[in-house]
Symmetry: D3
Subunit: 256 residues, 6 copies
């Protein structure tokens, strides 16, 4: 049976959504991903991943899939014509409005499934805002399996395949092979960062960056070896992993 | 060839989008439509109509379809748990952000294809805001053919089949028959309004209303006679009509 | 007896304003109207029309005239030095503040009498905002009688005498003859628009425009034949028509 | 010749307004003034004073009178139904918008003639905002002559006739005798404050207050001895004094 | 015993802060003060004055010292690189947030001790905002003793030693002698203003100014005769005077 | 020589601050930390750590210490009277204003030294905002050494000593021993979280929480074994570690 929130009628919302229900909001982006990938990458991956995981565990865990937010805060790509981006203020306003609406249904849990890394810190801030303002239990998950949970390592990218790199390109090739042109891709790894002890992606010093700070082509990683097979493996592992996360989320309580 | 904006890469935006290009933004809504229809009605109709018209005339008229905005300003249904709605301020912020991004592509024309009547006046205000701030030529169209252009009249609804009524229900039955349960629908026409000379839908006195001002079920019209065949006829006429409108829009200039 | 709201004292507000009272807010503008008319046109017409109609029917219908808002959202004339204009955000903030204050009096009905076309869509949006936030019954009327209700047609202007044209100039000549210099006026009708089927004033495609998009002089219409006599006729018909609208407004209820 | 700004046409603004012109904005209020005075007091006094002073010195000093802002920040009277009030944010937004418009005319000086004491500190803040944002030379004056410049002292009110008291009531009786009902007035002087060394009106400790903090009737002063003759004397002295202030303002420069 | 608010624990706030407690917020600034003084002047003076007065009378009067706000609205010095300044909107937001937090403690009185003249009008506006929104009794004091209360006159500066002048420089020399370089100071008194009857500091016409409107060095006054001894005398008199003001503030009531 | 930014004069800012300078903003908080610690904990730690590290490496690395922001976004403690907290919007406005001012000095690097974990995600978002709006290179560091860099592990707290726990209490005992009352502390570790695979502090599922979600006392960790000696060791290691981070930060470039 359908687990798409918007396929319910108004009266059905009252019947079907209860405090034990969890609402899942996929968040995509429409932003430049280099010459080998279309703007749609994060939009597609967030939507397809959410759909697959809800198909897999939605019925068992009482999860409802909200319509995918296609555009989000992509201002690190604002320099690139074509990128659609909301300002931080607009993005927060959207989340507040959706949080208020979600809270009116009686559901107590809202999960943000975020396909665009540039949103992560703002969404994390929003988790507390929505908890404080609307009393929701709020969670943030991502569609990628970290290596520690079975994700394939990207050591060849020095851990910096963060935008249009090997794994993202592979997953997208699995989902939309016709929209990828690998012949336009080259290796774009900011090697200099690798020598840093602190100021690097995932380092102890966080830093502000725009996607053209490293290279004018605006992607970061080495997609040259991407394959749909690798993408399929990653995608399926991601879906399984998200299912495990959701199983814990729907049981989660603060214990007070 | 694809006319979906987000299927272009960043460099392709520069190649393919030019001052003669027109960008089309479908705007839906996720809001209660009574017990016989799901929340998705406006989202689906806006998206399907946009897709059909871009498939029909996009290549000839150099039109690009932006990702559909699924949620919008549905505050007349805020009383109904389940409705997802942006405040007027959030909605305007979204449009400003998108207008700024669209203007950066070099395209000069932005068309809003609005599937939710509750947005119309705000979007109309936004047309001028975006023209003034970003220099865009801006347009607003709707997916319904007015009777004067071949649309089927709804005299039986006294011209008040405005939300979940005969035509909307029919079009949606054509697009998603499995999501309609006509057995739950009855006639909900605010007959008293019909006697008014001025204060009525489309009358010379505009008035503020919420969808539960007339009836607690929140829909307005008489969907009981809806059929997918009627819906198909309307939908196809709408697409043809929108194609005609777009043909005029892409040629439009102020003549100065 | 006076029907000017501001002539009441604080304690009289409590005595005289009741749920059956209707408050009328005239909204003007101070904006360029071409070389033949002063900036004050919309301000004067809104104020004089409101005064005349309240003098005529205020006592019978329990209507109170609020002080005229002289300046409003005239951003289509922002290019013209001298135009005083509020941004859309400021204008909405003003309306929210006034709506909150009006609701505190116990009156249930607020009528906006709008003399400036550039406000219409924003005011229409505000009708719902004020209804939702403050529970007011809200209405929007305009000082011009449409042809269908006895207004004189402007066929010679191809239906495009919308800013400083024949009728507006005539009405203003009736009200402030000393402020009109018809010798500076010529015909400024954007004839090219007339051939359009959809993209035109009142057409099915709404479009964003600034008043210098058509002509650098910034007025739209043909005022050359304007006379005070014509203006008097229009003004009086307008007042009568508004009285009829108000009579219906004060009786209006949603019927639920 | 007319010195009303709004009686100019757009082209005349360019001809008549120059860097040596000064624009004068009267700012009123529509707020409770006790049982003996109508809401309009500040609106009327600001407007009439501005008109009289512009009639007297406008031509000589190249001053133009902007339309009176009837409503302003009267939130100390928000407790009293009927008071129309803008929030501090709305009021500042209005001033910014007007400042931007005024700066576009080429005039370099903007004078705020403020009839409502509750605005004074916000307007004073705005003087700097408009100077910084738009480069305007900005000034704030009030319609009352302080004792040091010939104003009649209000020692009997212990210097606390600040809202609906002797002088304000007298001036208003001069301007609108038919709107005053002195039979409803009594002495409302917060005597206890007089013993304070610091915390009092005009004392070295400023303090936040609402008009019902002292007395439920919401006026402060002793209007019982008010007369139109006294009012006329005050009004005429005020106009003369304002003329002197304006003469200095139009010559004022920073000397750098 | 400590009277620093932040040295209390959460549970101690509940025990120690009561309706009879008064909270004191010192407000500094970090802004250019000419070549002879560091940016810190207002920050240091506000902080040291507050500390001294709370040490002197805090225990007796049940006063708690909030952490000093080091930066504030210094936009008259925005032209000078190095000045840290909050916009008027940010400053008001800070005050609202602090007011809300202060009101949650149960204390009824909040005193702003403002070390930067550029804040005065905004803070005065905020007194009413916080009273209206949070029910607090709010007060604004300054660290300088006016001549009428024993402050040393600055006749030699024509009453215009308002920023980096004789008294401020002296007080700062008393507090931080090592940070003053008097050899860089000269007389910077805008003599031309002195001839004005109305438009001058403290005159009846308020005017907008930036600190470089008078002189490119951005200070106003004559610090050349400043001495730490004079500063000590002023500082001690200020502290005594503030103690007297606070004694009246903690007893103050509206008498209703 | 002093490395306190505010001890410079305006002209010295121009002389001393150059593109190779780095500005360091310590960010504290004034918020409940349980019954054993005062509100000042984060304020004191951020300030003392910043001072120590600037004393150690400021001269060598051309670093300038900005005045400490004492209050920040502590809304997870809004439930506890006494906590001073800025909303997310206010906090972002403060950072934008400071970023704009910092950029005006000519310095290219701004480092946020954040003492309050509740700010981390918002500050991380701000890094990009300030980079995009003002072109600054922006960095975020924290005063605690992570275990991987020599910090003492808190295995006994199951990795959850995040607010008022062993290490924070120890460091604060080192800095302000007189303000700690360990007799009021007990073990407050949310043991149930430890069994979670994903939803836990530092887990792969981020979640929204308030500090009273786990326990009404509002602290999280086990401070019972805290000692000043442990605190001294941690503090000194932190300062050394921050010095190393800053050394890398001042050399950091994007390499493009």
């Amino acid at each position: 049976m359908s687990r798409r929130y918007e396929e319910l009628s108004g009266p059905e919302i009252l019947d079907r959504i209860s405090p034990s229900s969890t609402l899942l909001l996929p968040i995509g982006a429409v932003e430049q991903h280099g010459p080998h990938l279309p703007l749609a990458v994060d939009h597609v991956i967030a939507h397809e991943t959410a759909t697959a995981v809800v198909d897999a565990v939605g019925e068992d865990l009482d999860i409802w899939q909200l319509p995918t937010l296609s555009v989000s805060k992509s201002n690190e790509h604002a320099w690139s014509p074509g990128t659609l981006w909301y300002s931080a203020d607009t993005m927060m306003a959207i989340l507040r409005d959706l949080g208020r609406a979600v809270a009116s249904t009686g559901a107590e849990r809202l999960v943000l499934l975020n396909g665009h890394g540039g949103n992560t810190t703002l969404l994390n801030t929003a988790l507390r805002e929505l908890r404080l303002e609307f009393g929701l239990k709020t969670f943030l998950v991502h569609p990628s399996v970290p290596p520690a949970y079975g994700g394939v390592s990207t050591e060849s990218e020095l851990g910096m395949g963060i935008h249009g790199g090997l794994n993202e390109t592979s997953v997208f090739m699995h989902l939309r092979p016709e929209l990828v042109d690998l012949s336009k891709a080259t290796r774009k790894v900011p090697e200099a960062l690798a020598d840093n002890r602190f100021v690097k992606f995932g380092g102890s010093v966080m830093f502000g960056w725009l996607s053209n700070d490293f290279d004018e082509d605006g992607y970061i990683g080495d997609p040259t070896g991407a394959t749909p097979e690798r993408g399929q493996g990653l995608f399926e592992a991601n879906v399984t992993h998200l299912g495990d996360q959701l199983a814990e989320i729907v049981r989660f309580d603060f214990g007070r």
